[in-house]
Symmetry: C2
Subunit: 423 residues, 2 copies
């Protein structure tokens, strides 16, 4: 690669709100999204909530002259909703489905059925290896009483680990998507600290768009205004995150968001705002030393975030075990009830009542069995993430005990000496 | 690293057959396994089917002086059964749970409840990065009518992809485990061709152990003799696979297996045979050219294997969709039946019969709903693997069209110029 190598990357990210039968003006919005993407000709367009594969096929056909490469990430019962369109050939792709993703009995929330995942694309651009990730984490239905908090933290950890382990040979790492996390939320901090990814909104000097970079804003007519009441400007839950690995500089030249309206006509493309970023990647001299802000001095925030996440997951494990135990008792009770009903039905006395109660008690037994199995699996999934965090914390402590000269080996998010610069 | 760098690695792999209440002499076998591992002091011991976490904790305590690092991979309802004991510090670990792993209603087979997975350990040994993987794929209950074949092929592909994407910066890659695949089975060929991993049994010049390297042998008193009838010497389904990436040579100095008996007393450690390998890693000169046997000439077997796997998965997708459609019809039928029963119960004529039939029809409805959801998810999971295979095939074709000079870019299993040598 030439020493004066320079690459501009234009990216588009949007949560498309494409729920068949439920999302308003879906077909019209998909059409306008296709027109916009064709007109703008980004290098990479990463989309979430394209729940219908027909919508993906429609977009694929429409966009094929401008974006010859495309992929839809299939998972769960419904699908992950993730897809990508690329101007450049996709060398490789794969995906990782999150172990935990809500509860199957919360049918009205539906996340469990989607099989939320992270998709990975590997692109080779002018000799540079780009790993682009697209994801969508579990939705937050109530900020005050968020029953999915632990699952979202576990997802953020799995996402960070997936990026960490699959991007070791990448020159540039890029993550776009709807994280359903506010910038200061535990999951967001954990992800950024562990991977060393930088937030385009915080890094760029040229931002135009919604107030405070929000990606769900009250001006958007599709947004539930009541949900946004506590946030006058809206919330920022969609992100463009990036880093360059040793040998490269990366910077966000410009970042734009839509502002609750379609860029051309009056109605928005989705209930979320689109993010449009221009990134610049350049060769850095080999003697480049990481800026002090990303050196060992930042180790303690990572450790405290890891501890915070560990505590959250530990609470989750205890809760999951409580539910499994509770379901175990209900199973016992259900079996007793069934035995009693059998005896009553055989005895003849209150036969009809016994037969009538048969259905609910069988239902109770099956339901409790399912709940038991589900929460046992939840406890295992959370324990797994907790063990990984514990190991990282242990290694961080060892590194601290050994003194600063051993520090470059840990933590890993800081290890790569990313050459982020502001221009 | 010094140019005369050399590393010897002593490995142990065993499927421990540790099913609580079901496996014979479990406690005694675990005790003897611990004694053996302590005495032999391997670098790494990788175990499968340690289903009880108590057994892991017992071994951990017993082995801690010799193997200070250990990890148990938790997943599914029961657990993945995978664990590792290491003489050297474990730098990092993570795991990937297979998307497809049998059917929840095949309770007597139980695989679905285990959450079969692949575990990854990263070790740093004398400046060398070693990625060690341990796995256990879905069991084969009938070779003549193997209803899990598609799932096992999908698992082999996911395993190969996980290794491929997470080992890009590793110097040495090692995979141990019970693949439940015979050496010539599609899944085994797919895995080896796509990752470029070499089979210790086929590579070593110093093998001692069971006939033909079998890891389930009729001499073992715990083995179901009837199942092994078609195979007089037994079957080889447990493996030590390895490769070194450019810059390193790796060779298998010795490979030993147990032969249906405990190395010291008369009864075996498990129903599987243990594998014990001594690998030697050396620095290779930078000008090392891959041996012709792993060069572009081998491209066509990979392509044909990919096609074969694609066909298998395609059949699986069709079958999963058929089951989902069938379950859809049953749901419709169940709803009709329920409506009819409601009408009959209200009418009064055959009220008791109607109430009696209520339970089975609600059960039918719920059961069919679960089957529908499961097979929809199965179809998505298989489609995902099929799409990945299709993409790789497309890229292989493109590379072939562009001529031999572009070939080093693809296929990826061959890309790494592994320096395997026989000594």
């Amino acid at each position: 690669m030439k020493p004066n190598f320079s690459l501009r990357l234009r990216l588009f990210n949007l949560n498309c709100w494409g729920i068949p039968y439920l999302s308003k003006h879906r077909a019209d919005r998909m059409k306008r999204l296709g027109d916009f993407l064709n007109m703008e000709s980004f290098d990479l367009a990463l989309l979430e909530e394209v729940w219908s594969e027909q919508d993906f096929q429609y977009l694929r056909q429409k966009l094929s002259p401008t974006y010859p490469a495309a992929h839809y990430f299939r998972s769960g019962v419904i699908g992950s909703g993730l897809c990508v369109f690329s101007k450049h050939p996709i060398q490789e792709f794969t995906q990782h489905v999150y172990t935990l993703n809500g509860y199957p009995y919360m049918i009205h929330h539906g996340d469990w059925f989607c099989g939320k995942a992270v998709g990975l694309l590997v692109l080779h651009l002018g000799g540079l290896v780009l790993n682009a990730y697209v994801t969508h984490l579990h939705a937050e239905y109530s900020r005050q009483k968020d029953i999915y908090l632990t699952h979202r933290v576990a997802q953020a950890w799995e996402l960070a680990q997936f990026i960490h382990h699959t991007s070791k040979k990448a020159d540039v790492v890029l993550l776009c998507g709807d994280l359903n996390l506010h910038p200061k939320d535990l999951g967001c901090r954990l992800l950024k600290e562990w991977t060393g990814l930088h937030d385009a909104y915080l890094e760029t000097r040229d931002f135009k768009g919604s107030e405070e970079g929000c990606t769900m804003v009250p001006e958007n007519c599709y947004v539930n205004q009541r949900e946004l009441e506590p946030f006058p400007f809206g919330i920022r839950i969609d992100y463009v995150l990036y880093k360059a690995v040793s040998g490269f500089y990366i910077s966000c030249k410009t970042l734009r968001t839509t502002t609750g309206r379609d860029p051309h006509s009056g109605t928005p493309l989705s209930d979320h705002e689109a993010l449009m970023a221009t990134l610049c990647v350049r060769h850095s001299p080999p003697q480049h030393i990481p800026s002090p802000s990303h050196g060992p001095a930042e180790r303690s925030p990572l450790t405290s975030i890891l501890k915070e996440a560990w505590t959250e997951l530990d609470l989750g494990v205890a809760q999951a075990r409580w539910w499994a135990t509770f379901a175990g008792y209900v199973i016992g009770l259900g079996l007793l009830l069934l035995a009693l009903l059998c005896a009553l039905a055989a005895g003849g006395g209150v036969r009809e009542v016994a037969i009538l109660l048969w259905t609910p008690s069988v239902g109770l037994l099956l339901g409790a069995g399912a709940v038991y199995l589900f929460h046992m699996q939840e406890a295992k999934g959370l324990s797994r993430a907790r063990a990984e965090l514990q190991h990282v914390l242990g290694r961080a402590r060892e590194a601290q005990d050994l003194g600063p000269e051993s520090q470059p080996a840990l933590p890993l998010g800081q290890q790569e000496g990313d050459g982020t610069e502001e221009q």
